[in-house]
């Protein structure tokens, strides 16, 4: 068995649902019988500062739970791009919420998924689902996990809260998948 391990960092403002992204990816990984370790950065975080979490998904036993050089980064705001872009591993991938990030990646080796996540969430009618819009775009272009596992994870997570939350989050997921683009390193100037 080839060892396949993907390290992902998620970052944005506190309140953008960073931890929920990690939770959904982790739950979907369990559904696919993969190993997973999640960490939420804790510390003397400031209100209005950046929040971040990491997830490692592997088909083998996961050693260190830390992610120092993520293979993929889901970035929901500008300050987080500044902070995490230099840490992404060589030839890695970055997903950018273009509603809140005004620049392109500085690195030319990164693949780049672009999604206007906050704007799409606003159109759907719930600003809080911009994180799930991003997950939709992320899964659409990386195929790291199957969309059905993600749907299942969303149902599991939200169903014991409010049924309509499942619906709006699934809509966010699919809209994000449809309305996103993925630029390969060569496409980015």
């Amino acid at each position: 068995m080839d060892r396949q391990e993907t390290k992902i960092v998620m970052a944005g403002f506190g309140g953008q649902g960073i931890v929920v992204i990690g939770n959904i990816l982790a739950r979907a990984a369990i559904i696919e019988d993969k190993n997973v370790v999640g960490m939420v950065c804790y510390g003397a975080e400031m209100r209005g500062g950046t929040a971040n979490a990491t997830v490692i998904i592997s088909n083998d036993e996961i050693a260190s739970p830390f992610v120092n050089h993520p293979d993929m980064a889901i970035i929901l705001n500008g300050p987080s791009l500044d902070r995490f872009e230099p840490e992404i591993s060589q030839d890695g991938l970055v997903l950018m919420n273009t509603s809140m990030i005004s620049r392109d990646p500085r690195r030319s080796d990164l693949a780049c998924i672009k999604v206007n996540a906050t704007k799409i969430a606003h159109e759907i009618g719930n600003l809080r689902v911009s994180n799930i819009v991003s997950v939709g775009a992320f899964i659409e272009h990386t195929r790291l996990l199957s969309i059905s596992s993600i749907e299942q994870a969303i149902s599991d997570l939200f169903s014991n809260k409010k049924a309509e939350l499942v619906e709006v989050n699934l809509k966010a997921l699919h809209t994000g998948a449809e309305r996103s683009t993925c630029l390969q390193p060569l496409d980015i100037k």
Binding site: G38, M39, S64
Partner: protein, 361 residues
């Protein structure tokens, strides 16, 4: 196979305690173990147990003394500075031979330190911490599943030996989220009847649970000898250790808890580069698995101790291996943690060092 659910280490330990029949929890908040009292405050009422947010760590440990004396499976948890506050109570509990579980999700010290993970409470955990000649059974899980399983076992060992058990985790283990298979509790030992508890003396002679022994004059000497006999018995019966690729290893990494897990990644990387590296990891820190360490030391050229402190665990490694091979060290305190790359770098430096060239001792 049971259902796998996603929980933080702190929550995993709490759920395992509930499953194992723990029905009394007293604690006081401190990061990075706050999920434990949070989880317990929700779960204990559901299972008819008692949750108390005490006025202090000292009060919490003394409530555990009382709950255990009354016959309840009970626990408290805290993190480094809070565990220091509990030491007097822990000594009393050990002296009175009361079973309970104490969890320490270690953070950076000394003093109030910081809230990052650390392994600098090793001495306090395995050498005493409180006053008097006593021992705690000390466990060091490296994954949340192991934390779950060991928490259940801890209550059995505590009851079986009438001794407090310390779960020595750290901020990372407490905070990291992993899938855990929620297995139903089954005792791993034939547990003796609790013939010491204070549950009303109607129809029997009264019992006393105390630690002050003034009479007879030699009473405390006898009690200490009794305790020591028990500790020797625990040492002979309970010593757990995990080994990974040590058979042909030229260098064996010794690490416990979360550090051992990072070290395992380094072993894999070293093996991919053709270096013969293995890992030995104690699961019980007291009793220390001396025989396993000694055997490994006689079969390898060098041992590398990695820990998140400036060198505490290394002393037990050196004692255990009786100078059978040289011991190198990699570690820092205050919230530092090793990466797989840092460990690999150290291994590479050891392989090219003159000690390695000399071959086996």
């Amino acid at each position: 196979m049971g259902k796998k659910i996603l929980l933080k280490g702190n929550e995993v330990m709490s759920e395992a305690a509930i499953q194992a029949g723990c029905r009394f929890f007293a604690g006081y908040p401190i990061t990075p173990q706050n999920e434990v009292p949070e989880y317990m405050s929700r779960r204990m009422p559901q299972v008819g147990g008692v949750f108390v947010q005490a006025e202090s760590e000292i009060a919490a440990i003394n409530m555990v003394f009382g709950a255990s004396a009354a016959g309840a499976r009970c626990m408290t948890s805290s993190s480094s500075p809070g565990i220091s506050l509990k030491q007097e109570g822990i000594s009393y509990i050990a002296g009175a031979e009361l079973p309970c579980l104490i969890a320490n999700m270690q953070r950076g010290g000394p003093g109030l330190g910081n809230i990052r993970a650390s392994q600098a409470d090793y001495f306090q955990a395995v050498k005493g911490g409180g006053h008097g000649d006593y021992r705690l059974i000390v466990l060091a899980p490296a994954s949340t599943q192991e934390l779950y399983n060991l928490t259940m076992n801890a209550f059995d060992w505590a009851d079986y030996y009438r001794n407090p058990v310390l779960m020595l985790g750290d901020g990372i283990l407490g905070q990291m989220t992993e899938p855990v298979e929620i297995l139903p509790y089954e005792p791993i030992l034939d547990l003796p009847e609790k013939d010491f508890i204070l549950d009303g003396c109607k129809g029997r002679d009264p019992r006393v649970v105390k630690t002050l022994v003034l009479r007879p004059a030699e009473g405390l000497v006898d009690h200490n000898e009794h305790l020591q006999k028990k500790y020797r018995r625990i040492e002979s019966e309970l010593s757990l250790c995990d080994e990974y690729r040590v058979e042909d290893a030229d260098i064996v990494i010794a690490a416990y808890g979360i550090t051992s897990r990072i070290a395992k990644g380094a072993v894999r990387m070293a093996r991919e580069k053709g270096m013969k590296v293995g890992l030995i990891r104690p699961i019980t820190l007291w009793p220390f698995p001396k025989e396993s360490f000694k055997k490994v030391a006689y079969d390898t050229s060098q041992i590398l101790v990695v820990e998140m402190s400036h060198g505490q665990f290394i002393e037990d490694v050196k004692l255990a291996i009786e100078a059978a091979c040289p011991v190198e060290f990699l570690g820092k305190g205050g919230g530092w943690y090793p990466t797989e790359e840092i460990i690999l770098e150290k291994i590479e430096s050891m392989i090219t060092s003159p000690v390695a060239a000399k071959g086996r001792v």
